[in-house]
Amino acid sequence: MDLAIQANQKIDVQKVREDFPVLHQKVNGSPLVYFDNAASTQKPKQVIEAISNYYKYEHSNIHRGVHTLSLKATEKYENARGKVQAFLNAPKPEEIIFTKGTTGSINLVANGFTTLLKPGDEIIISYLEHHSNIVPWQMLCERTGAILKVIPMNEAGELIYAEYEKLLSRKTKLVAVNHVSNALGTINPIQQIINQAHQYGAAVLIDGAQSVSHFKVDVQALNADFYVFSAHKLYGPTGVGILFGKEEWLNKLPPYQGGGDMIKTVTFEKTTYNELPHKFEAGTPNIAGGIGLGAAVDYIETLGVNNVGAWEDELLHYAVDKMKTLGTVRFYGTAKNKAAVISFLLDGCHPYDVGALLDQQGIAVRTGHHCTQPIMDWYKIPGTLRASFSFYNTKEEIDKFIIALERAQKMLL
């Protein structure tokens, strides 16, 4: 990545690997090499223990009990919210909504906008979006008669900024783009995207699923209206995610789901809704998940998210240089600003065949369209192989990966 990451300390990879029990196993007879981090990251024992301890010693339902355990559980859960608030530098804890994940967060916002849009209004997304940042907006358009516009991309997998400027108008009500592309690793110029959208009064939602684990995100500096991510891609548990929304926007949106915790008063005639953030958190939440996310935030903050990003960046360059020496690798997504994701094909080989043969050698990569079919259609390919790195990966693992690729290619050609 060329955005200068200010790393102040080098990651001690061997030491951090000790925190991840899952990494110390053999798969198909070889030590596991886990390069599928963009799909989901592994969990450090600090996160696993936080969840386990919660269930062992602290579990109770939150927000309503007067007894000690309930108060403790509530405190832990709300502390986790505070950690996420600090992590994103959000102004207020009530602007942090716990959801099921990135997809859940986007659907919450898309659902809320149903009441704010009218036929002819426009929503802008980009070519680089994950299906979860496409489909909810298409459904919103179907409900409201709004129109979906798409920022095109170039061969390198970068958004064509001039085209975005042309799409913007007073009709634009919402812009939803990712910070980092999951399929190609492109880092999008979201600061510019946000600033420009605001000139037209449009709200901006940033899908941060692939960014928060790689570099520092400051929602105030970005001036993002909504910023969403999943815990499981940030070394936390599955089934929990975050919606940051500016208070003024969250107050404009109606509740997403009805139930307990989101109400102030209920009679059969009329229900009044609770205040933020509870208005959007109906029902007993994923308490352990929230606490696990809090532990994951602590973990990554201790390492320093920019230190993490700097090491991943080093791995990215090391891997790309090595892969180039094979002479048969076609790279997809060669943006100047890029996170540690490599999408590629081997000449003459189907990605599924290569993926299966890598798996036989203990190497986990992703194959397929990565939930980004428009990008694959753009390149006129059915899918790619994707290797994505985390701070716990090593250069030795990349060397093994290169040997495994060579072997797979030899077997297939």
Partner: protein
């Protein structure tokens, strides 16, 4: 040869392989050598759902026997469907339906193939059996 006999043949063939590479090289070779899929049958309707790669399956009756033809854009999938075609093609629909295949497990493909592919394998068998039901009288 009956389906059982053909299965035994495959199991014996695989018993000689000492490591995963030999096994996969064999499957890949099977894939490379599977020819004769009628081009006009390469239709979207003939694609087996549930496979990560594209696998086409076409079936027709030749007298009493059901004939399968298959193709795939990925070599390993093509090798796998080639194994299935080798065992199940040219048998009566009744025999195809009454035999529970055991060779996949015995040659260790269930455990060694990733879940997606394993699902692909079961989708292949399901589709082949569906044809057998359709052609049963």
């Amino acid at each position: 040869m009956t389906i059982k006999e053909k299965e035994e043949e495959v199991i014996e063939e695989f018993s000689f392989f000492e490591d995963w590479m030999a096994k996969y090289e064999y499957i890949i070779d099977l894939g490379k050598n599977l020819n004769g899929y009628p081009p006009e049958q390469k239709t979207p309707e003939n694609i087996i759902k549930g496979c990560q790669s594209q696998v086409w399956l076409h079936a027709y009756m030749d007298g009493e026997k059901l004939i399968y033809k298959a193709d795939s854009d990925a070599l390993i999938s093509k090798g796998l469907i080639s194994l299935l075609v080798g065992v199940l093609s040219d048998q009566t629909p009744a025999d195809i339906l009454s035999n529970k295949l055991k060779f996949i497990e015995e040659i260790g493909l269930n455990e060694h193939l990733s879940p997606n592919r394993s699902n692909g394998l079961s989708s292949m068998i399901k589709t082949m059996k569906a044809y057998a039901i359709a052609f049963s009288k």
